[in-house]
């Protein structure tokens, strides 16, 4: 028997497709979703019981779909009550035996998009949405979600269970022709995708592969929105551009031991030019229309960070973008970043004056910014600010980064 290779991540990829498609028949309530997940999981166990001994089928994906369909039919046959309740949603008649499942690429995509809208439901907390998205939209296991979110299995299991109970049976049936409904819910969907990406990009986890997976999953799900005419709106393009610009630095920021190389230490030859180019294209797409969202501004700022020149013109533009961003969406981090840009335009003295007005004395970055700005005036004072920042930093990784910056002061 020849040794055979299976496409990497095949089961993860097919898990989310099978789950989404089955939910289009069973609904996305707690019950329908759990049944769909179980059937998808059992389908892979069937493969495990067969393929190693009999060889991988010529059409592995078609094999999985047939097994999943048979399991769905068996389920309906055995659970008449469930069948009766969901019967109106079954597209083809009422007999389980006649059930046919539409595995076309189009229906898979449509089902996944509906699933995305069902999961990003305002009734669920943000952390529930992210965990549930990782499970049903990305095909991650409980263990993988727990290590990605630096949590434990029990917490994640409970969180998933509670989240599912809050999902409504009809959550799956968003009417994509009702533009108003879609627009309203799209905001929530984008927030979840943005946070999912950040979870991977800024995570404390040392598992670099898993972290990048999270980012690529967020990008893949954003791509689902771009592929649909109703949801392909400027905000979505802007968010995708932002993700491309950040993702372009994956290779450059990696160190062998899993630690991160800081932006100003990176070898920019390792930046992924192709992703930057893609980002630029989507940013141009995003510029159509009249909306100017936080994603537009963050993407524009991120674009400027892919340009490694250090002239005043660049920093003037970045400062201007931060000014706008703070008007659309205030955050302490943005206001600190704005001060850095200001210092690059008007000099460190002006930066110090602006920073001290912020009085963000609980924020480690407030002190590291002051430390950076003071280094040309008073190196001892600069070091003391970094010491304060290190004390306030919440994670080991943050403390290490600040320590390194402190050592680099000159």
């Amino acid at each position: 028997m020849a040794q055979q290779e299976i496409i990497p991540h095949l089961f993860r990829t097919e898990f989310r497709k099978i789950t989404a498609v089955l939910c289009s028949y069973f609904g996305a309530g707690a019950e329908g979703l759990s049944i769909a997940e179980d059937i998808a999981g059992e389908t892979f166990l069937s493969a495990l019981e067969n393929w190693p001994y009999k060889g991988v089928p010529e059409q592995p994906v078609a094999w999985l779909y047939t097994v999943a369909k048979n399991k769905a039919i068996n389920y309906l046959r055995r659970h008449k009550h469930f069948h009766l309740r969901i019967a109106p949603q079954l597209k083809n008649g009422d007999a389980a035996e006649e059930m046919d499942i539409d595995w076309s690429a189009e229906n898979i995509k449509d089902s996944q998009l509906r699933m995305l809208f069902a999961v990003c439901h305002p009734a669920l907390s943000m952390e529930s949405q992210i965990s549930l998205a990782l499970r049903v939209l990305c095909g991650f296991g409980i263990d993988e979600i727990a290590s990605a979110l630096l949590s434990n299995k029990e917490t994640i299991s409970k969180r998933l269970q509670r989240a599912k109970e809050k999902l409504r049976h009809d959550a799956f049936h968003t009417d994509f022709h009702e533009t108003a409904v879609v627009t309203q819910r799209l905001e929530a969907v984008l927030t979840t995708l943005y946070l999912l990406f950040n979870e991977g990009y800024y995570s404390e986890s040392n598992d670099m592969v898993l972290r990048e997976d999270l980012c690529f999953e967020a990008m893949r799900l954003t791509q689902l929105l771009l592929d649909n005419a109703v949801t392909n709106v400027p905000n979505v393009n802007a968010l995708f551009a932002l993700m491309c610009f950040h993702a372009s630095r994956f290779e450059a920021r990696k160190k062998d031991n899993g630690a991160l190389i800081l932006y100003h230490e990176q070898d920019d030859r390792l930046w992924n030019r192709e992703l930057i180019q893609t980002g630029v294209q989507y940013l141009l797409q995003a510029a159509q229309g009249t909306t100017l969202s936080a994603y537009h501004l963050e993407a524009s700022i991120a674009y400027w960070f892919t340009v490694k020149t250090n002239n005043t013109e660049k920093w003037k533009t970045v400062l201007y973008l931060y000014n706008l961003l703070l008007q659309v969406q205030y955050s302490p981090v943005s206001s600190l970043n704005r001060v850095y840009a200001l210092a690059m335009v008007e000099g460190p003295a002006a930066g110090i004056a602006a920073a001290e007005q912020l009085r963000l004395e609980q924020n480690p970055y407030y002190f590291s910014l002051l430390g950076t700005l003071y280094q040309s005036f008073n190196i001892e004072k600069a070091k003391r600010y970094f010491d304060k920042a290190i004390v306030l930093a919440k994670t080991k990784g943050d403390k290490e980064v600040l320590q390194r910056k402190r050592e680099q002061l000159k």
Binding site: A2, Q3, F11, R12, F44, P52, G139, G141
Partner: protein
Amino acid sequence: MKEYVLLFRHQDGQAVVSPEQIQAWMQQTMDWIGTIAAQNKFVSGTGLPFADAKVVHHNKMVTNGPFGEIKETLGGFIIVKADSVEEAVEFAKGCPVLQGEGNTVEVRQIAKKDGVH
């Protein structure tokens, strides 16, 4: 050359695992069987689905199972050719099932048709 059956016994046959994990097991199992087959010592094998499993008791009572009463369940088996039980044991040591704590692989010789052994 004798034939041995390698029986996979699982401590917890119903543990929920991620698709990625199942795929990793799949690849490991295929590679493991592949190494045995490459020496022309693989005869046959199969996984044993847990779904629809029944146990028939001495009074002909039938229960769903084997879950609940006994912890261990049979997950599958392969038959290999080997010169000695030691060689069969060496094959068994590579079985991915052993990564699970409490899981075992039982090595048993298959009775020869001549009835002498």
